[in-house]
């Protein structure tokens, strides 16, 4: 998936360079179809995981503490970093609210703010996923089994799940699955609330 993502961005960037601003704008409208399609498809995958949702229901509101804190930490740190870096804090917060869902962050910010904001949102969340895969082991050893789950954010339910399981064990992987599920469902809402749209 990582290779596909990098290849798609590079192919689009090359096409945009070759076609110029007008052609690139026409290609950019592909996002108007692909973003809703991606959300419906991801939603369908989530909705079909009745076993995971049953676990969420059985555990009750206490289970929301972990993804709630992960999202809050990510949003606040994103806002603070955005402010420090000269970005609008709400854009940093919105990029943080994606919790690693780089395709959502990149496309949504590119569409509702500008392509440069989309690039920052994409890169921040893409690197978050890569960083989690690389440092999951040391994080689990130094900060405990929930640390790689927190670092992975929404990706803890799919792309970084294997790294979490290997670094922190199957129990942390279960916590990651549920936390990632909740964060994936919450990310579009949080991004919409923080930056409009």
């Amino acid at each position: 998936m990582t290779r596909l993502a990098v290849a798609a961005v590079l192919a689009g960037w090359t096409a945009g360079r070759l076609l110029g601003p007008e052609g690139a704008a026409a290609l950019g409208r592909l996002a108007d179809v692909c973003l809703p399609a991606l959300l419906v498809l991801v939603g369908a995958e989530l909705g079909a995981r009745s076993d995971a949702w049953r676990r969420v229901r059985n555990l009750g509101p206490r289970l929301l503490v972990l993804p709630g804190l992960v999202a809050a930490g990510s949003v606040l740190a994103g806002a603070a970093a955005g402010w420090t870096l000269g970005l609008e804090p709400r854009l940093g917060a919105a990029a943080g609210a994606a919790c690693g869902w780089y395709s959502l962050a990149g496309a949504w910010l590119a569409r509702h703010v500008d392509p440069a904001a989309g690039a920052v949102g994409f890169l921040a969340n893409f690197l978050r996923e890569l960083l989690t895969m690389v440092v999951a082991g040391p994080l689990a050893r130094r900060l405990g089994p929930l640390a790689p789950v927190a670092a992975g954010g929404a990706t803890a339910m799919d792309s970084t799940l294997a790294a979490i399981a290997r670094a922190a064990g199957p129990e942390a992987a279960l916590a990651g699955l549920v936390s990632g599920l909740v964060l994936t469902a919450a990310a579009p809402l949080l991004m919409g609330l923080l930056a409009g749209g």
Partner: protein, 110 residues
């Protein structure tokens, strides 16, 4: 309310209604469709970026902002997990009441 959420809610409802079929025979086509939508989305984003070429200095600034945001959001979530370690249920025994002596009932052994 965010349009994003409405699309996600539509997907959740469809997935819940389809249930077994999504996990069974539809799993592979759904996975391919997700990959296609993701590729299309990222291609469109790349095209939008490529159509407005940036001076090298701006590209460097965007890269720096992306890297700094990635590190900051991970650090923010890790800071939160320190709180989560105090408040959230332990992985593997979520919601389980403590057994005698304050240990997990499942982990206390014979």
């Amino acid at each position: 309310m965010s349009a994003l959420l409405l699309w996600l809610a539509l997907g959740l409802a469809l997935g819940a209604a389809a249930g077994e079929r999504v996990r069974g025979g539809w799993a592979r086509p759904l996975d391919l469709a997700v990959r296609a939508a993701l590729a299309g989305l990222l291609f469109a984003m790349g095209a939008a970026l490529g159509g407005q070429p940036l001076p090298a200095r701006d590209a460097g600034r965007l890269a720096l902002q992306g890297v700094a945001l990635a590190v900051a959001t991970v650090a923010g979530s890790l800071a939160a997990v320190r709180l989560a370690g105090l408040l959230a249920p332990r992985p593997g025994v979520p919601g389980e009441p403590p057994g005698p002596g304050g240990t997990s009932a499942r982990g206390s052994g014979p």
